[in-house]
């Protein structure tokens, strides 16, 4: 009996114990103190040996992951130097200079700053390791930082930054003369501007209010959202605050919900943390401190409640929840040409009809599909994916084991052919970015996120292609149509949070107008050669979904 238990323990540690036996082992461990002790001790030694004896490749991947975080999340303890950096960058951009860059890592400056007391995660989007894909090309900078998501009677100044037809905005200055305008940042933070107001979009998670009033509402994944004013720096740690900047630059902040860290930009710059119901003012006197004032948060206009993406967008959806049968139903809504049901029966190479696993298995919600090497599903594709640069979004849950076969497929979804192939999957290439992280390829170009997904747990991933639909000559800082590039027009999300990029390689996405298009009569779940892992709750949506929609899809499956 003892040997049997010993064998089971080792099989469990080696992840070789069938699920049914895991349940039995768990029951035994619950009932037997000495077995529980053995389980704990064996687990400790097993984990320690795994760490100590890990191959160099694993050590390298770990080091790369840490380096990506170190560079994507700048040092917080040096608050003043970080803030100085922001100001330096602003001055440099006013003088038309680019901020200083490191040799091979390209830094955009601080977009968000981390925690004061609680563990608040912060990121900036643009610490990108560039592959030498296209000589002479600068490191990619996202073309679109935010989206004009709503407005009520907004009147804009002549020189104000203009949005694309679908509302996307690049970096620049919004000059709202009157009315209300709501801006949703790439990070998911939302700002309601009350005109007259002058507001600069600086980063995916950072803005500068020169004058006027705004209310900021910040969901958890966007914690660390920063608004600077001429006299004040405000970092959201909680969820909602109002900010007013007078023409003189005098600034006041009112915390409506959660926590906010506030500091002056000059003089006594020591940050303080304000909680709900408190307000402070920063005046122009150089040695002055932040001064408490009467709270007036109720005077600010709140951002509107957002409509569900599933109520406002056409979409395709596979829940994979069928109990049996050879069909997987598209339970989406409104996607032209649909429904796009999938058959689990497919042709083998010899032309015979065979049951093509993937197998049904337990999923995040109901059932999921488990793919093994060589397994994939062919889907008759909506026109959306053939549209070259037409925007689309995909979201799904995936689970990848820590160990996969070396020659296995990294793409979990693919379509197109020859030079125009889209592949969405995870990164296997050493040196292209963090190994195991979410990756999107178009032809020779790619972007790689920063979170290693290979941990045997479910993760929600989303890939948003901003494309160029409605992109006009008058749009965002361009006199002519911009090239759509995979390294600048794709956003990657993991577990509802916009990911920093650990690697990118430039490649122009073919446009229909350019005389070619992506061959997308079919797309493949499981990639071209068969992804090794689990897929669940797949959504394909029309248009470039905002961060809030990605968060919504993520939260749909949470208990």
């Amino acid at each position: 009996m003892e040997d049997e238990n010993t064998e089971r323990l080792d099989a469990f540690l080696a992840r070789e114990l069938p699920q049914g036996d895991v349940v039995a082992l768990e029951a035994q461990i619950r009932a037997d103190d000495s077995l529980r002790e053995a389980f704990i001790e064996q687990s400790r030694m097993d984990a320690a040996l795994s760490s100590l004896m890990q191959e160099q490749q694993g050590v390298q991947a770990f080091a790369e992951g840490v380096m990506a975080s170190v560079q994507a999340r700048p040092e917080r303890s040096l608050a003043k130097s970080v803030l100085s950096e922001i100001l330096d960058e602003r001055e440099a951009s006013l003088r038309g200079h680019q901020p200083k860059r490191f040799d091979w890592w390209v830094w955009s400056k601080t977009a968000a700053i981390a925690a004061v007391a609680a563990a608040v995660t912060v990121w900036i989007l643009q610490s990108v390791q560039m592959d030498s894909g296209q000589e002479g090309r600068a490191a990619p900078t996202p073309k679109f930082l935010a989206r004009l998501s709503a407005g009520d009677g907004a009147v804009w100044g002549e020189d104000s930054l203009q949005a694309r037809e679908d509302g996307w905005l690049g970096a620049g200055r919004l000059d709202l003369r009157s009315g209300l305008a709501e801006v949703t940042f790439g990070s998911g933070a939302r700002v309601m501007l009350e005109g007259p107001a002058v507001f600069d979009l600086e980063q995916m998670n950072r803005g500068f209010l020169k004058r006027g009033r705004l209310t900021a509402e910040v969901p958890l994944p966007a914690s660390g959202f920063v608004i600077n004013t001429p006299l004040m720096n405000v970092i959201d740690i909680g969820t909602r605050f109002g900010l007013t900047v007078k023409n003189s630059g005098v600034s006041e902040v009112h915390v409506m919900q959660g926590l906010v860290e506030v500091s002056r930009t000059r003089g006594r710059a020591v940050p303080i943390v304000l909680r709900e119901g408190l307000a402070v003012l920063a005046d122009r006197r150089p040695q002055s401190r932040l001064k408490p004032i009467v709270y007036a948060g109720h005077d600010y206009v709140l951002p509107e409640q957002e409509a569900s993406i599933l109520a406002t967008s056409d979409y395709l959806h596979y829940g994979f929840d069928e109990v049996g049968g050879a069909e997987i139903d598209d339970t989406g809504l409104g996607m032209a040409g649909g429904p796009f049901d999938i058959s689990l029966l497919s042709e083998s190479e010899s032309g015979d009809v065979v049951r093509a696993s993937p197998k049904r298995t337990a999923g995040v919600v109901g059932r999921a599909l488990a793919f093994d090497k060589g397994q994939r599903l062919k889907v008759n594709s909506p026109d959306l994916l053939a549209g070259g640069t037409r925007p689309w979004s995909m979201a799904l849950w995936i689970k990848i084991q820590a160990k996969t076969s070396e020659d296995g497929e990294q793409a979990m979804i693919s379509w197109g052919k020859e030079e125009a192939i889209w592949k969405l999957g995870w990164n296997k290439a050493v040196g292209a970015g963090v190994e195991g992280a979410l990756r999107a390829d178009f032809g020779s170009g790619h972007v790689v996120a920063a979170t290693d997904l290979r941990d045997g747990r479910w993760h929600h991933v989303a890939i948003v292609f901003i494309g160029d639909e409605g992109y006009g000559a008058s749009a965002v800082g361009n006199s002519a149509r911009d090239l759509v590039d995979v390294s600048t027009h794709v956003r990657l999300y993991v577990d509802g949070r916009l990911e920093a990029l650990s690697g990118a390689r430039s490649n122009t996405v073919l446009s229909v107008e350019g005389g070619s298009s992506v061959d997308a009569s079919q797309f493949y779940l499981g990639g071209a050669a068969g992804f090794e892992g689990w897929l669940d709750e797949f959504y394909l949506l029309e248009g470039a979904a905002p961060s809030s929609a990605v968060l919504e899809l993520y939260e749909l499956a949470l208990p």
Binding site: A11, M45, A48, S51, V59, G65, M67, V70, A119, D455
Partner: protein, 198 residues
């Protein structure tokens, strides 16, 4: 009289140079420090909290924290112990966070491992990982090969059994015995060290 430096001395000198370089703003030097210490930090975290996905997360955050606070570190003191102290604090915080979530308690086996870390006596100043490395070095060749196959080459039990011309049951039970022996060896070294310190 000639001074001879042993390998540890050389590593410490190299390490001090790297730390100075990081403090002066050299990011590449920090990557080298990660290479020097990541296995041991992860092993330390593993012994404190043997939940694989938490091990990587905590070790990762420990290095990020260390980088951010590099200016607080005094060159010449024990960098490895400093990293372990950071990791230890993160383990404590994670255990607290974990135990607050009812959802986490549904996974009983993982819950057991997390719970056990609360009453575990491993201190960051204890060189348990070093002892483990020494114990590994003392293992007979056959047992070392077994561990290499499992942990370095990630072979399945079936492959190990075939490669070593043994049964799968033998592989599993022997691995358990070797791990138990390693634990006893580490504890013995710790006791001897405690006695020697008086």
């Amino acid at each position: 009289m000639e001074n001879h430096l042993n390998q540890n001395d050389v590593q410490e000198i190299e390490e001090d140079d790297l730390i100075c370089a990081v403090q002066a703003g050299d990011l590449a030097a920090f990557e080298q420090l990660i290479h020097l210490h990541s296995s041991r930090v992860r092993a330390f975290v593993s012994m404190r909290l043997p939940v694989s996905h938490l091990v990587d997360e905590i070790a990762h955050e420990a290095f990020v924290f260390a980088y951010r606070h590099m200016d607080d570190f005094t060159v010449g003191s024990n960098f490895g112990a400093w990293l372990r102290a950071i990791a230890n604090n993160l383990v404590r915080a994670e255990v607290l966070r974990y135990s607050r979530s009812v959802k986490n308690q549904q996974n009983y086996l993982e819950h057991c491992l997390v719970e056990s870390s609360q009453d575990q006596g491993l201190k960051p100043e204890s060189p348990m990982v070093l002892y483990l490395e020494e114990c590994l070095g003392d293992l007979p060749e056959g047992q070392r090969e077994l561990l290499q196959r499992r942990y370095k080459l990630s072979e399945s039990t079936r492959d190990m059994a075939q490669g070593m011309d043994q049964s799968e049951a033998w592989v599993r039970t022997t691995l358990c015995r070797v791990r138990r022996a390693l634990r006893a060896c580490v504890e013995h070294k710790q006791e001897v060290s405690t006695v020697a310190r008086g």
